[in-house]
Amino acid sequence: MTDLDLRPLQSVLSKNAHKGRPFLLPALMATQELYGYIPQNAAAEVSKVLRVPLADVFGVIDFYALFHSNPDHKTVLHICNDPACAMAGSDALLKSFQASETNRITLSKKRHASDFVNMPRP
């Protein structure tokens, strides 16, 4: 990933460098939004500017489910399979996607991802 353009990220970071570690989660969220995932050298840039040890940055990336350190496919669908959603049919939805679109979509069996199927249908 040596050709990754870090300038958009550096622009976000330089505006917020004074916040230090409390800006870590927002910085990683911004990185994810810019690149689709958090590449190692982007993490290193965050570590350098916010003055957080790189090991701690990786620890935070690893801990939180919304942060990905591997490149994802273009479209990530989150399908909740907790009891309420499963009872409304999310399992069948998940199985249909798995059967048909294995290459084009990354499936993430998310717990309680409300934006997709959680809201009980009328």
Binding site: L66, M87, H112
Partner: protein, 446 residues
């Protein structure tokens, strides 16, 4: 093909084999109930704008509050009997009083909008459809305890709410309800919207502080409590979204007016999240004291598609299952406690006769095994062992001693975990073991 079907708005994926109605439109705001105090502006299937909020009486409470001494506000909130709506039910007025008493600055107020309990969506509806009510409650809280910095910690997955709250904060700032010298009162206060990054444990208040501070969301030991040592080790008041939405009513009606609804020990109204096999699932605001039967049968239409009631999950994954024998329990803190049932955040998931409860507990056990942060070994290991036993249950391959192991895990996690996740991780599973022991009998390895 499934994707074309979704685009056309028609997907035949009813879990019980029947056709579904078109689901092309997102089912916003299915809101019902009686005494719609908190959800009075919800149900338009979009956010309430600032002008609409003001027309409905919005920010009148803030104006009144800013003319009262902070101590009087705290007195009113204490007298109202309001307790936290996130699940722990701690008296809000006492929490505010504790932080107000502290001299240290800066102080913080935080709205805990990291709603992630399976089955709960009440806060999401409030965030998406009436964000100004939350802002108003938070400003009043800040004024009462003497804080000038506030946060709304919003669950990362709630992207629609993020859009609505961002807009509401900008509108409130522009109109002078946030920032310097709010409504010419001399009080300065502003709110930062902080997005969570996908960890159920960050709904626990001290883990939430850790996240804002840029760390992994490991809960802290309590004491010390947040009111003395919270965010950045400073005095902090952290309240649930629904709790804050009660504040404007308490200020406007006064504690006596607020207490006209509900019961003596459980005043006010509560939001219940009905899901599962009911005819009209959704968000229902009711006064405390109505029965479970009233909620499920009168308001939510009863069991759908001619089914019969088998089980009700109260309180979400961290709650407990019950059966039809408790339908006439009054939904109040005191009555539920007496019946040994949890209220939690107000989840009511209904299971009919076709549902296999082993599937439900498998999902719940998987959830906790995934979400355990790992700090306390009893929870880290206990949730894994619980999952393994429940996997054996679901496969019909329980081995001798599994029930005893499960009970042992329950006691260990409940007693030895430092946060609510570990303390409630085995609660739902144990309730199934207690009420449907035959499920375990039948699942023994042959």
């Amino acid at each position: 093909m499934i994707i074309n079907d979704v685009q056309r708005g028609r997907v035949d994926v009813d879990a019980r084999g029947g056709p579904l109605e078109d689901i092309g439109q997102k089912p916003y705001g299915i809101i019902g109930g009686e005494n719609r105090t908190i959800t009075t502006n919800c149900g338009k299937q979009r956010a309430t704008t600032l002008p609409e909020y003001i027309t409905s009486g919005g920010y009148d409470s803030l104006m009144k509050a800013l003319s009262m001494p902070p101590a009087e506000i705290i007195k009113e909130v204490k007298a109202s009997g309001l307790v936290g709506r996130g699940g722990a039910a701690f008296p809000t007025g006492i929490k505010w009083e504790g932080a107000a008493r502290e001299a240290a600055q800066p102080k913080y107020v935080i709205c805990n909008a990291d709603e992630a309990e399976p089955g709960t969506f009440k806060d999401r509806v409030l965030l998406e459809e009436d964000p100004h009510r939350i802002i108003e409650g938070l400003v009043i809280a800040a004024y009462a305890i003497g804080a000038h910095i506030g946060y709304i910690f919003l669950r990362g997955e709630y992207t629609n709410a993020f859009t609505e709250v961002t807009q509401a904060l900008a509108d409130a700032r522009q109109a002078g309800y946030l920032g310097e010298n709010i409504l010419a009162s001399g009080f300065n206060f502003d709110i930062e919207l902080f997005r969570g990054a996908g960890a159920y444990v960050c709904g626990e208040e001290t883990a939430l502080f850790e996240a804002i501070e840029g760390k992994r969301g490991f809960p802290r030991m309590k004491p010390p409590f947040p009111t003395t040592n919270g965010l950045f080790n400073q005095p902090t008041v952290i309240n649930n979204v629904e709790t804050l939405c009660n504040i404007p009513s308490i200020i406007t009606l006064g504690s006596a007016g607020y207490r006209r609804l509900g019961t003596e020990k459980s005043p006010g109204t509560k939001l219940f999240c009905l899901s599962g096999d009911v005819k009209t699932p959704g968000l229902y605001e009711v006064p405390f004291g109505v029965t479970l039967r009233h909620l499920i049968y009168d308001l939510a239409g009863g069991i759908r598609a001619g089914g019969t009631l088998k089980a009700i999950l109260l309180g979400g994954a961290a709650g407990a299952f019950t059966n039809e024998s408790t339908l006439d329990v009054s939904l109040t803190f005191e009555d539920l406690r007496a019946s040994g049932l949890p209220l939690g955040s107000g989840v009511v998931t209904v299971f009919d006769h076709t549902r296999d409860l082993r599937d439900a507990v498998l999902r719940i056990a998987t959830f906790f095994a995934n979400e355990s942060c790992g700090k306390c070994y009893p929870c880290q290991i206990g949730t894994q062992r619980q999952l393994e036993i429940i996997q054996r249950l679901a496969a019909g391959k329980l081995i001798p001693g599994d029930q005893e192991r499960l009970t042992d895990i329950y006691w260990t996690m409940t007693d030895a975990s430092i946060c609510g996740l570990g303390q409630t991780a085995a609660s739902a599973v144990l309730s199934v073991l207690k009420l449907w022991p035959e499920l375990f009998e039948e699942s023994r390895s042959k």
